[in-house]
Amino acid sequence: MKRRDFFKTSIGGGIAAGAALKMGGFDKLWSSAPSAAKYDMVAVMGGNPDAMFDLGIQELGGMGTFVQKGQKVLIKPNIGWDVIPDLGANTNPFLVKRIIEHCFKAGAKEVYVFDHTCDNWVNCYSNSGIEKAAKSAGAKVVPANSESYYQQIEIPGGIKLQKAKVHQLLLETDVFINVPVLKDHNSTRMTCCLKNTMGIVWDRGYWHSNNLNQCIADYALYEKKPALNVIDCYTVMVKHGPQGVSKEDVVSMKSQILTTDWVAGDAAAAKMLGVAVEKIEYIPIAHKMGLGNMNLDTLNIKRIKM
């Protein structure tokens, strides 16, 4: 018997009933049509992370386009590493905070933040500054360090990845906002929107040993897709990624990309990093699988300089 099952069965009747009420929204998987937004992508440059987000989301019609009143929102930043914000290994905490504030303004009932970290999760959550920032904005910062938080899902059509265990909050929330930080990556050359999903699943090792690039693209098939991707390109790790060694590895790019199409987001991010899109194998794979559009010329992009 798994521990989670044990909990479920051993909790008394009253609590179970309460929990069942709580879980009422469980089967109401995210289904609302994404955005009647004016643009496919909004790129902002030259401001602080929070100010750039204010502008960008406004161009997309405000957070109300993505979050309805009373909905539960999951914000998934990259909190993978036990380093300070200046080193660019994790999503900028001010950006995370600002997104949460917009969600609540749009009427979100609850906002959750988690990441399945690579380093010790307690240190990652605190040293990244994200725990404090997210809590101060009223979000719930949720642990993801134990298998008991994960649930099995199916990915029909996945070539290498047909099953995965995902964090239960992905299933229990109504809206998923993906907030990766753009970084160099030693193996896949870049980590951004698609690769950020490795922090949603429990068994990353399976991806690594079963064609990493294909698994990254396969996961994007899963029905619970992000309503919005906010790419943090403020402090960008351009080498020694995804962890970095020192501040020599980062370049201040003071940019941000907001998009509903995560393949397009990754394609734009690759250009920011100066890497040919084709070199980042999972992008063309995902494009071919119809998961998004990597041809930026065919998209309606709004570019803003502050």
């Binding site: 709580k22 609850e110 008991s148 690594h208 351009v238 201040s252 250009k271």
Partner: protein
């Protein structure tokens, strides 16, 4: 009943000490600061002796305080400060509740030969070979291992149960902590002691302390010249025998008005129970005693020599056999040396100072420290060893080095720890996913905090790891992350002596801050 205040002080004080000890060992969230723990450990006899021997500074001379205390008040340490002793008192109390017989002790003859043999053997083994026997018999370490092996998992399970319930209500103040057990064999020694100490204390009071414990025996010897003792007022005494029955150490021979000071742990129960005010704790009147030759002393020497002879066989056997081969035919890691924690300086140095109390194993936020069972050989059994299949050593942490009570792990500043090479990563190309599957992986390089493990061009668009050993610190994150099985394609081979790693060099990137969008 006038002096029962002493007993009350003892109970309150020892309860506080005990609670604090338990808290330190079940503190799975590392909430208790290192300096609090160090203060508590200062007065633990064996750890303090070893630390003093290592550092030779007065700041680590807690045992001197204990010696002085013993000279003045007898074995107060055993009742007031020893967590195993206090735990036994608690257990005796429970025993008394279960069966009245269990709390009726009465005078018994001491196990003189056994206890002095154990003390002598422990001393000689420690001086000649090292800490191996102390590791087994130090009461603090025994208690510590009980906590680590049995109490902490229970606390974590309770926490997980509560975290599960709170999680249902969307409250995440408690988080689930995965319980990672040790290899089963590790539990055998603590379990054996748990049964022994538990059974004896449940039914026979402090018999363990007076039969086996070398610290108890040693302090008992010193007590022979202690200043304050339990005294009889022979005129007031009605020889009712209540004191002897209440004496956990079974050391009061009321018919002779005699208290065996080597076994008395100054619990003051006798004073409390005496209805005639015939017993008190006060300055001793030295009586002249007839000197008797002790036949048993000779037996002690013979016995300890026998024990030593037997033990020398055991303690020298360094078992370096590799892990059991598995069915799959990939390349086996060639581990030549276990990895000992940072601050250990080197395997030999570490093995001779560590008493396997498991405090560091408990404190490690990543759970990478595991009790050894064969890695260091029998001599280093239960000492902490880095297990990179369980976890890895987190880069920004020096916790284990801060709290070691014997200085087996020297304190390291974070900057020094980041440059302490405890082992070196070895890459086995034939096991690597990139070679065997011809797909991208890079889990090892991703995890490497110094980029000693970097990806270099391989076939086509693929990249494959390469290790620069001199900047590797042996943290094991690469080995932990490597998905190859059953044999890893990268593993850390320990350094027999820790060395300084080179600082990773880094140059500013040529990529400039953009002024235009590149798309």
């Amino acid at each position: 009943m006038s002096s029962s205040i002493l007993r009350r002080i003892r109970i309150v004080f020892s309860t506080l000490v005990f609670i604090f000890f338990v808290l330190v060992f079940v503190d799975f969230k590392s909430l208790i600061p290192a300096n609090y723990i160090n203060t508590l450990m200062f007065l633990q006899f064996v750890p303090s002796v070893l630390k003093f021997y290592d550092l030779k500074i007065l700041a680590s001379g807690g045992f001197l305080v204990i010696l002085l205390l013993t000279l003045i008040t007898g074995r107060t340490y055993c009742s007031f400060l020893c967590p195993l002793g206090i735990g036994q008192d608690l257990n005796s109390r429970i025993g008394g509740r279960i069966k009245k017989k269990f709390r009726r002790y009465g005078f018994k003859r001491p196990f003189t030969i056994l206890r002095y043999t154990i003390l002598a053997a422990t001393l000689i083994v420690t001086i000649v070979w090292g800490v191996y026997m102390i590791t087994l018999l130090d009461p603090y370490s025994i208690f510590a291992r009980f906590m680590t092996c049995f109490a902490k998992p229970v606390i974590i399970m309770i926490n997980n149960f509560l975290a599960g319930i709170l999680g249902k209500f969307d409250i995440y103040t408690l988080s689930n902590v995965p319980v990672k057990g040790f290899p089963l064999i590790v539990y055998t020694i603590p379990a054996a002691f748990f049964i022994l100490v538990g059974a004896l204390s449940l039914t026979k009071g402090r018999l363990y302390c007076n039969m086996f414990c070398p610290v108890g025996t040693f302090l008992g010897l010193i007590s022979k010249i202690s200043l304050f003792r339990i005294k009889f007022n022979e005129t007031a005494c009605t020889r009712c025998g209540r004191c002897a029955i209440r004496c956990k150490s079974s050391c009061i021979d009321f018919l002779k008005y005699d208290v065996d000071i080597t076994r008395c742990v100054s619990c003051f129960n006798c004073i409390h129970t005496c209805q005639d005010n015939a017993i008190s704790f006060g300055i001793v009147n030295f009586k002249k005693k007839v000197h008797e030759t002790d036949e048993s002393k000779r037996k002690v020497i013979v016995g300890s020599l026998l024990l030593l002879f037997g033990l020398s066989r055991v303690s020298n056997g360094q078992d370096k056999t590799a892990p059991k081969p598995k069915k799959e035919s990939t390349v086996k890691e060639n581990r030549t040396c276990p990895v000992c924690p940072p601050g250990g300086v080197g395997i030999a140095d570490f093995n001779k100072d560590c008493i396997a109390c498991s405090l560091c194993i408990n404190a490690c936020p990543n759970g990478v420290l595991q009790p050894a069972y064969k890695q260091y050989g029998i001599a280093g059994i239960l000492q902490p060893v880095m297990d990179y299949h369980k976890s890895f050593c987190t880069y920004n942490c020096t916790k284990c080095t801060e709290i070691c009570p014997t200085n087996a792990l020297h304190p390291l500043l974070l900057e020094a720890k980041k440059l302490t090479q405890i082992g070196k990563a070895k890459f086995i190309k034939d096991n690597c996913i990139v070679k065997t599957e011809k797909t991208a992986c890079g889990a090892c390089s991703e995890a490497c905090p110094t980029k000693a493990c970097q990806m270099i061009p391989y076939e086509g668009n693929l990249v494959i790891p390469e290790v620069t050993e001199d900047i590797c610190i042996g943290c094991g994150h690469c080995e932990f992350a490597c998905p190859a099985a059953p044999y890893k394609s990268i593993f850390v081979d320990g350094n027999t002596v820790h060395v300084a790693a080179k600082k990773p060099e880094n140059v500013k990137s040529e990529i400039k801050t953009p002024v235009e969008f590149p798309f």
